[in-house]
Symmetry: C2
Subunit: 456 residues, 2 copies
């Protein structure tokens, strides 16, 4: 039986295994889930071994662990490829918005529903299954393969840089493919050539020592929640431009050719809005929506917290107000420089009567662009054209995968996104799901990719 | 034994009873405490009966109940006075900031520490104990007395207007005294002549249908948390003036005489700031801090909530952002008109790409000013001068007691604040406390007040 027959025969088991995997609430952001992230790592290591990979090991970092494995018997004349993915997931809150519980995965309508089904448990299981099928069919792989799966992608991979630096030998490869990635649609493949960078911070405004009676102190002293609102409002113009001084200084502007290439890819505003349910697009003036999403930096408030948030009224003047903020960055912005610019902005715009500070949060990435004509990228494009029957679009993504820039920095290799999720799968929202036909197609695509790379 | 001797002899028991009373977590804002508010009502009714009051009854409203009782045997030639107070308390959160648990009251340093000790369980117990002492000493009271204690003051007494309208006969009185009130300091009494009005609302901004991945949608659609910040910031100038069109239109400006009278009362900015721990005063330009606190309207954000508020980073673009807002109003502002002005402001300043709505919350009061030369006010001032040995200051308070305006409207009687709490007792904050010497002094003051009113 060839690998394709094996994949067909074993598919029901693979779906059951993915269900087992999704059942583990490996939320990297929540301290109470630390043991679950570890449990997911153990699951991955065991699964790699069952697939026929060797040296599967759960390796410690200062935070959540990494899982590595390899199969290196293709011969010295064959390339070594490194396959990346992550087994941690986003928090599932608000739980009441899920149709079925996030960690009780269920198959409905040809999809698997559950937190992490798409991002990235389904995705990272695909290459493991591809390798199992090829080893089952032929006893060998066409190339040398290393696996590198992490447990902290959703919190920005804070402990990966020292890990990768220390494990350079174990991760050494000629090409890197990320199993965490998106296709354009179930019918249309893409090669993602760019990712945004990321800087995460919290803006904290303080006033009185504790929450005050709004009747006793209101009008006498400044209100930190209002001051926070004023500070946030000062960071953007009404028409959507970021007004933090120097914010755009290091941005490499889109060329006329870049803009033309982006404009060639079909875009339907109604479809785009349907993804999120927003009633209108909005953002920096002078750029199309897709240009803003793909190639312009952003500043988003991720959360606000202050004072009384329960039912009804509590007439307090709050002691403190906090905003979590992330900026998505593009080449050549630096997370550190953007943080410093925001801190300087806050100091320069501090409202009267309060104090404010800006704190870095976990979550940092440099912006990432695959160079044009890159060989791993070309091979991936050919495989996608074969399995989909259509040439892939060359696109960018607004998201960040910090480890991609870490791998580039430490190993000198540009990773290629080769994943089979889709942007409409509620990746960081309630009711996340993964298409099971993409799960199956991805397995074939990985087998073909290994064949193509081994034949070169 | 005269009433003074009785009060001295029974004081330790009275403190124990107050401890019992404070132990009941009668938080009117929280649905889970509905049975506790009812329990507090039962406690009050039983305590009134033990004091010698008649017809003590827990009476239903659409929300939390009311407790009424009376003693009406002084004779038709004697005035009838109504004594008001409340047995509900503010929420105790954040619990971790309390030195001892809010509902495990403890005596330390001559004070009773616990939620509601000062506001208003200690205060409302005082006139009950005064009546008990006079009845124990002489078998009668110098005036006819009605008690009217409510369980929803801390949520703005939403169900009191229909209750008072329906119970006009039961509440009919020549004078009204509120046992919910403050003295200037342990040494210096005051007559509070003004209370601010109140309007409570929530501003809700909506964008996408659920929280979105900030990398997938950031830059493409508007961020509701940023839009909320922009809306809030649009309501106040950087120097502290409320910029909602028409907000100040109905304000009766302070006269030269009003400002001079306020300026005569000692004010120490460092002492004022020490109350809250704020490092500076701040507010509407053109007015002193005390003028702003006493006689100028305010707009305060009481709470903010949006998106991810847990540990670390969650890279979401939130679906919704909410701000709770209360305005403290002065004569002749109307809560309804101010709500309409804010709603119109929100509609006029709505940022692009989001929707917003403004919802009334429970909590409304008209502003309240006791007319100069009012007879109950004069009697109260004389008693305070006797028990403190100093003439009371004539002051105003930034807080609101909605039922005061309801009683004025329905019964045609201006209430006089005759309470013995102090502004530094953390009334709506962690570590609330009540001074036990003020508890004792207040009991004598109520006995003297009844005597003075009966002798007139």
């Amino acid at each position: 039986m060839d690998w394709n027959g094996y994949l067909d025969r074993e598919q029901a088991r693979f779906v059951d295994e993915l269900i087992d995997f999704v059942r583990i609430p490996s939320v990297s952001a929540k301290p109470e889930n630390i043991p679950d992230v570890r449990r997911a790592a153990d699951w991955v290591a065991a699964r790699l071994t069952r697939a026929g990979a060797e040296h599967a090991e759960v390796l410690p970092t200062a935070g959540h662990p990494v899982v590595c494995a390899d199969w290196l018997h293709a011969g010295a004349d064959k390339p070594t490829i490194l396959i990346y993915g992550h087994f941690d997931v986003q928090p599932a809150e608000p739980l009441e918005l899920w149709r079925t519980p996030p960690f009780a995965p269920e198959v409905r309508d040809g999809c698997l529903w559950g937190r992490g089904a798409s991002d990235d448990k389904g995705g990272m299981l695909i290459p493991i299954l591809a390798v199992e099928a090829m080893l089952a069919a032929t006893g060998r792989l066409p190339v040398n393969v290393r696996f590198f799966f992490e447990g902290q992608e959703e919190i920005g991979s804070p402990d990966l840089p020292p890990f990768v630096a220390a494990q350079r030998e174990r991760l050494k490869a000629d090409m890197i493919f990320s199993a965490d990635g998106l296709q354009w649609s179930p019918e249309q493949p893409q090669i993602v050539e760019g990712l945004k960078g990321l800087v995460s911070l919290e803006l904290v405004v303080n006033g009185p020592r504790g929450d005050q009676h709004s009747g006793m102190q209101g009008g006498g002293i400044a209100n930190p929640a209002m001051a926070l609102a004023q500070l946030l409002a000062s960071m953007k113009s009404a028409d959507g431009k970021i007004t933090v001084a120097g914010f755009y200084d290091d941005v490499v502007d889109l060329t006329v050719e870049d803009r033309a290439a982006i404009a060639r890819i079909p875009y339907d505003e109604a479809d785009y809005l349907a993804e999120s349910g927003a009633h209108a697009t909005f953002g920096e003036p002078g750029y199309s929506t897709r240009e803003r999403l793909w190639a312009r930096p952003t500043l988003d408030v991720n959360g606000l917290t202050s004072g009384w948030q329960g039912a009804g009224t509590k007439t307090v003047l709050p002691a403190e107000a906090r905003a979590k903020i992330t900026c998505r960055l593009v080449a050549n912005q630096s997370p550190e420089r953007i943080f410093d610019l925001i801190a300087a902005h806050v100091a320069a715009h501090l409202p009267q009567g309060v104090t404010a500070r800006v704190e870095r949060l976990p979550g940092r990435a440099d912006p990432f662009l695959v160079p044009a004509g890159h060989n791993a990228s070309a091979a991936a494009a050919q495989v996608l054209a074969e399995v989909y029957g259509r040439a892939p679009y060359r696109t960018r993504v607004g998201g960040s995968i910090p480890v991609m820039t870490t791998l580039l920095g430490e190993l000198g290799v540009h990773a290629v996104m080769f994943g089979f999720s889709h942007g409409d799968e509620n990746l960081h929202a309630p009711d996340e799901f993964f298409r099971l036909d993409a799960f199956r197609l991805g397995q074939s695509a990985y087998c073909r990719l290994l064949e193509r790379l081994g034949a070169a």
